[in-house]
């Protein structure tokens, strides 16, 4: 409802004939009520005559400002009340759902959940956040636990590729531990014949599952495989910066011309070093913020988040 009816009618009539109806001056006049008050530079004509008038204007201005401040604080009080209610509501419904739809660590139940879907993503990506920084132990344990739960869910749903983004990169320092935790979780879900697992990250050697051979002996373990990719903030912007550095050096030695650098070159390199495009990005934060997630790769990724979710 920003524009009045009269304005819209005139504007549309003018537009119909390719803006030939109105002259620029008429158009400005039509637009006048919608223009903000011009910046102070234009109205810098301080006459002694109008000082009195200005004083009154100043008072009016002051009152106006007080009114605005009042309304601003009212809006924010109401809004934060609304947010609190909304968060509480979501917390309750999420809790209810998590109990009602709990998968009881059975892959069959999860498979049943995804059976109705026509298409499954090949590559899911999640953003996890390390909580209570500084105290280390508890936060890390929780993070690994979450990662293991998600990994087990993906394995049950039949999704072959999972990338876990965590800003600080602390998981990258604990790859063997992560691997062990995920394996244990998979064993808890699947029993003895759990899928093979590989955990890797950019610049981190792959850790393959030790038990894959045992699963292979059992017969059908080889058909299922889950690979986990650990990412951190340095795989985002920094990887593009590193690529630029390398390309610059090559270019300085005339190994590559700047004109040859196209989207495909950058894409293949980043795909090779970091990862391809995930199909689905799941956020667990209360609102959508990417926190340094690799920018090149999120191009067409569907972003899923639950409003006001916590942890």
């Amino acid at each position: 409802m920003a524009f009045s009816k009269r304005y819209l009618e005139t504007y549309r009539r003018d537009e119909m004939v390719g803006h030939k109806l109105l002259t620029p001056e008429e158009r400005v006049r039509l637009l006048k009520p919608y223009l903000p008050s011009p910046p102070p530079r234009a109205s810098k004509r301080a006459d002694s005559k109008t000082r009195e008038k200005k004083l009154r204007l100043g008072l009016r201005h002051f009152l106006k400002k007080q009114l605005y401040l009042l309304i601003y604080s009212i809006i924010h009080t109401v809004f934060s009340l609304y947010m609190k209610i909304r968060q509480a509501y979501h917390a309750v419904t999420n809790r209810f759902n998590s109990i009602y739809y709990h998968h009881h660590r059975t892959p069959e139940l999860i498979q049943g959940d995804v059976k109705g879907l026509t298409r499954l993503p090949d590559h899911i990506s999640v953003i996890l956040t390390l909580e209570d920084e500084g105290r280390g132990g508890a936060g890390l344990e929780r993070l690994i636990n979450e990662a293991a739960d998600i990994a087990a869910w993906c394995a049950s749903a039949g999704i072959p590729m999972l990338s876990i983004y965590e800003k600080t990169g602390i998981l990258k320092g604990y790859v063997p531990e992560t691997h062990r935790a995920v394996s244990q979780k998979l064993a808890a879900y699947f029993g003895p014949q759990f899928p093979s697992l590989s955990v890797e990250g950019p610049h981190i050697p792959v850790i393959e599952s030790h038990v894959s051979s045992r699963a292979g002996q059992a017969g059908d373990g080889s058909s299922k495989h889950l690979s986990i990719l650990l990412l951190s903030a340095e795989d985002g912007r920094d990887s593009i910066v590193d690529l630029t550095k390398t390309l610059t050096e090559m270019s300085q030695r005339f190994k590559v011309a700047p004109a040859d650098i196209c989207i495909e070159v950058v894409d293949t390199e980043l795909r090779e070093i970091v990862m391809g495009e995930p199909d689905l990005l799941v956020l667990f934060s209360p609102h959508v913020e990417l926190a340094g997630y690799p920018p090149w790769q999120v191009r067409l990724t569907e972003i899923f988040h639950v409003q006001d979710n916590r942890g």
């Binding site: 524009f3 011009p38 950058v266």
Partner: protein, 354 residues
């Protein structure tokens, strides 16, 4: 039938002068009030949903785009009145060239027409310090459209108070690639300012003279001062060997007055900020708010580099032509609310660390 009747009565009432007056006053009051809090400096919009709107209202697609433009005008009014410095809009994606020809042509005509109109209001734009920039792969535009765009950009290039970035034909990957490319160009064309009093040729000569009797000292010298053409020594191609060969190639030449060695700036100095300064949005404040309408939860190759850090992203259900102040206000209030929360968290973290 009664439904239609009711909506007609409602429309009649809302467009009656007193109701309009009240609404516009409300509008002013809300904007003035929100201005009391923090205001995003840079807002980006993906104007999605024009076609779906046209379809659902049974009008021509291009009509939908025209209505979308009206929504944009309303939005710009709100943003700039609130005090947003930069608004970036996704007007046309490179992918959109795949749409039906008549639609592409229609969009081009629309953009051209609006720009031509803008050109007529140079003085007005200057008074408000309003600038228009066109970002994207210009080479994909037809010359007549490009000419009008350039005219607007030239006309308003000194106006910096409020900037409207129009991304027309744009994809973020192309932007990142072009930023990478121009960074490389910068680092390979401008030689490093080199003002050391030491002459390289003289040093080389001295060393060559010594070469006859003392080989051990030479190797240590070579290690201590790596030759200029390869600025990095821990390079996968093994620059130690290449530098040695280069050195030997140079040494016979050192008799001639000036051995031509180009010295480039060190590639190690490239940082994210360097690349940032080569983006189309260089010089704009960091993106604070990213809004996509029409309920699609994807970034669709828009402002990836700019939005992936701490930008708040909002996906809204409404289609773009319906998007107005009353859809934008809640977003703005939520943004302010979260911003205040962040402010509150920051000091508490500092206390924890101390």
């Amino acid at each position: 039938m009664s439904d239609l009747y009711l909506s007609r009565v409602r429309n009649w009432f809302l467009s009656s002068p007193p109701a309009e007056w009240v609404l516009s006053q409300l509008h002013e009051v809300f904007i003035g009030s929100l201005k009391q809090g923090p205001i995003p400096r840079h807002v980006a919009f993906i104007m999605d949903g024009n076609r779906r709107y046209a379809k659902s209202h049974k009008i021509e697609t291009i009509e939908g785009h025209h209505l979308g433009f009206e929504a944009l005008a309303g939005m710009l009014e709100v943003c700039f009145k609130c005090g947003v410095e930069v608004v970036t809009i996704y007007a046309f994606s490179v992918e959109n060239f795949n749409r039906p020809q008549y639609e592409v042509d229609g969009l081009m005509q629309l953009a051209k027409l609006k720009m031509e109109q803008l050109v007529q209001h140079g003085s007005l734009l200057e008074r408000y310090g309003a600038g228009v920039r066109v970002l994207g792969q210009r080479e994909l535009l037809s010359p007549d459209v490009l000419e009008v765009f350039d005219r607007v950009a030239r006309l308003t290039k000194d106006n910096n108070n409020h900037i409207l970035n129009i991304c027309f034909p744009y994809t973020s990957r192309a932007e990142i690639t072009s930023a990478v490319r121009s960074t490389i160009e910068e680092y390979t064309t401008t030689p490093r300012p080199h003002n050391t009093p030491f002459s390289q040729s003289r040093i080389a000569q001295k060393i060559q003279a010594k070469q006859g009797n003392k080989t051990e000292s030479l190797s240590s010298v070579r290690e201590a001062s790596p030759p200029p053409p390869s600025p990095r020594s821990d390079d996968p191609d093994g620059s130690v060997s290449s530098s040695a060969t280069l050195y030997q190639e140079d040494s016979p030449k050192s008799g001639t007055p000036t051995p031509q060695v180009t010295i480039y700036p060190n590639a190690e100095n490239i940082t994210a900020e360097t690349i940032d300064s080569h983006m189309y949005t260089a010089g704009c404040p960091p993106l604070d708010l990213y809004i996509r309408t029409s309920g699609v939860e994807r970034l669709s190759d828009f402002m990836l580099w700019q939005c992936h850090q701490d930008t708040q992203i909002f996906f809204l259900k409404c289609l773009w032509p319906e998007f107005g102040l009353w859809d934008f206000l809640p977003v703005l209030v939520e943004w302010q609310w979260r911003q205040k929360q962040k402010e509150r968290e920051k000091p508490s973290q500092r206390v924890k660390q101390a």
